[in-house]
């Protein structure tokens, strides 16, 4: 228990020890210490503690200075991070576009594989609009359902059933004589002269 109630003065004892008090303040503290046994004892303790610190290793100043790098002013860079951020965003956006495009292509290809009868031509999208119901034609009722083209209809819109047997035979013989059919025999392969390879 402290008998001295001069708390402010007691708090200045370490400053008195280090000689860091102004002259007038120092005189007041010294006067108090002279008449206060507790503060004298505390000052003795502080002196002893301070003296015990002299056993710290001595530092080689030149060795420490030798490890200090020369001063290099750190120039704050303001624009560079902003530019790099823009470039980063552009690169990221490009990647996103590429990934999205590739992903869309994959989805389209998978849809093609799963639905072979769906239209794959972008110029002919599947028409989702309802087809008006027409009165069934007596010629197409059995062959083609309403709203779907007849699979066996000829290109000019004429049905096969309108042809006579002679017409059909003539048509088939004409088809046999088409030149546009691919040849069954492969094209002859040209021989390449490789004799100059060894000279390189």
């Amino acid at each position: 228990m402290n008998s001295c109630h001069e708390i402010e003065t007691r708090e200045m004892l370490p400053d008195l020890l280090h000689g860091s008090l102004d002259a007038s303040v120092r005189a007041g503290v010294e006067k108090h210490v002279a008449g206060c046994e507790e503060c004298r004892e505390e000052l003795d303790v502080l002196r002893t503690v301070k003296a015990a610190a002299v056993f710290a290793p001595t530092i080689d100043v030149n060795r420490v200075v030798g490890h200090i790098a020369p001063y290099a002013k750190i120039v704050p860079v303001v624009d560079a991070p902003a530019r790099s951020r823009v470039v980063s965003w552009l690169v990221a956006a490009s990647f996103l576009v590429v990934i999205a495009g590739g992903g869309s292509l994959l989805v389209v290809q998978q849809n093609d594989a799963g639905a072979p009868y769906a239209s794959t031509s972008p110029s002919r999208p599947v028409d989702a609009t309802p087809v008006p119901i027409r009165a069934p034609s007596p010629r197409t009722t059995a062959a083609a359902p309403v709203g779907q083209p007849a699979s066996h209809a000829l290109a000019l819109g004429t049905g096969v059933e309108t042809l006579t047997d002679n017409n059909i035979r003539q048509l088939m013989s004409d088809m046999d004589s088409f030149d546009a059919l691919p040849a069954s025999e492969p094209e002859p392969v040209m021989n390449v002269d490789n004799s100059d390879q060894g000279t390189r």
Binding site: A52, F55, P57, T58, I59, V65, I68, A69, I74
Partner: protein
């Protein structure tokens, strides 16, 4: 209160810092010579076991490398002590991790203080050492900075990242404990 004699020299720390930035390497020598022993004492007093010289050297290397971030709001000396303290804490954390144990900070710091065994021979100083051992790490830091370094409570609060009020409380608890310890011996 006037600045301590170390600070009250013919050339202030800030003037030396400006000179060093202008290319005068002797200014660095002056600054290191001015503060290195105080940093060494603080490290030894607070229980730094090995490599006090290396610790002081690292403190200056780090301080000079980041001098542009020193705004002069606190004194250069206080700033150095705060850097050294952070380095000490980093070291102790690394040591704890390397030992793969999780001891309490209090007991850990007490064991580290045994490093002074070989340094203190005098009986009275041995008693002081043991009395400081009985303090908590924070009390010991505050007490050491106040008594051995002569720092004000404001400066100590800056070093510890604490408040003046808290450092006052730590100091009063510490001085009471040290006095009681020395009386009972």
């Amino acid at each position: 209160m006037t600045p301590s004699p170390e600070i009250r020299s013919e050339e202030s720390d800030m003037e030396l810092i400006h000179r060093w930035k202008a290319g005068d390497s002797r200014a660095a020598t002056r600054l290191v010579g001015r503060h290195s022993q105080a940093l060494s004492r603080f490290a030894a007093s607070t229980g730094e076991r090995d490599g006090v010289e290396e610790l002081v050297q690292d403190t200056f290397v780090r301080a000079f490398a980041s001098l542009d971030s020193f705004r002069g709001e606190s004194s250069f000396r206080t700033w150095l002590f705060s850097i050294e303290r952070r380095l000490m804490l980093d070291r102790r954390r690394a040591e704890r991790r390397s030992r793969e144990t999780v001891p309490l900070e209090e007991s850990d710091s007490v064991s580290e203080y045994g490093a002074l065994d070989s340094l203190i021979a005098d009986e009275a100083q041995e008693r002081v050492r043991r009395s400081l051992e009985s303090l908590s790490p924070t009390q010991r830091e505050v007490f050491t900075l106040r008594v051995q370094q002569g720092m004000s409570y404001k400066e100590i609060a800056e070093v510890l990242g604490s408040t003046e009020g808290a450092t006052r409380v730590h100091y009063h608890n510490a001085i009471q404990r040290v006095k009681e310890f020395l009386k009972d011996e």
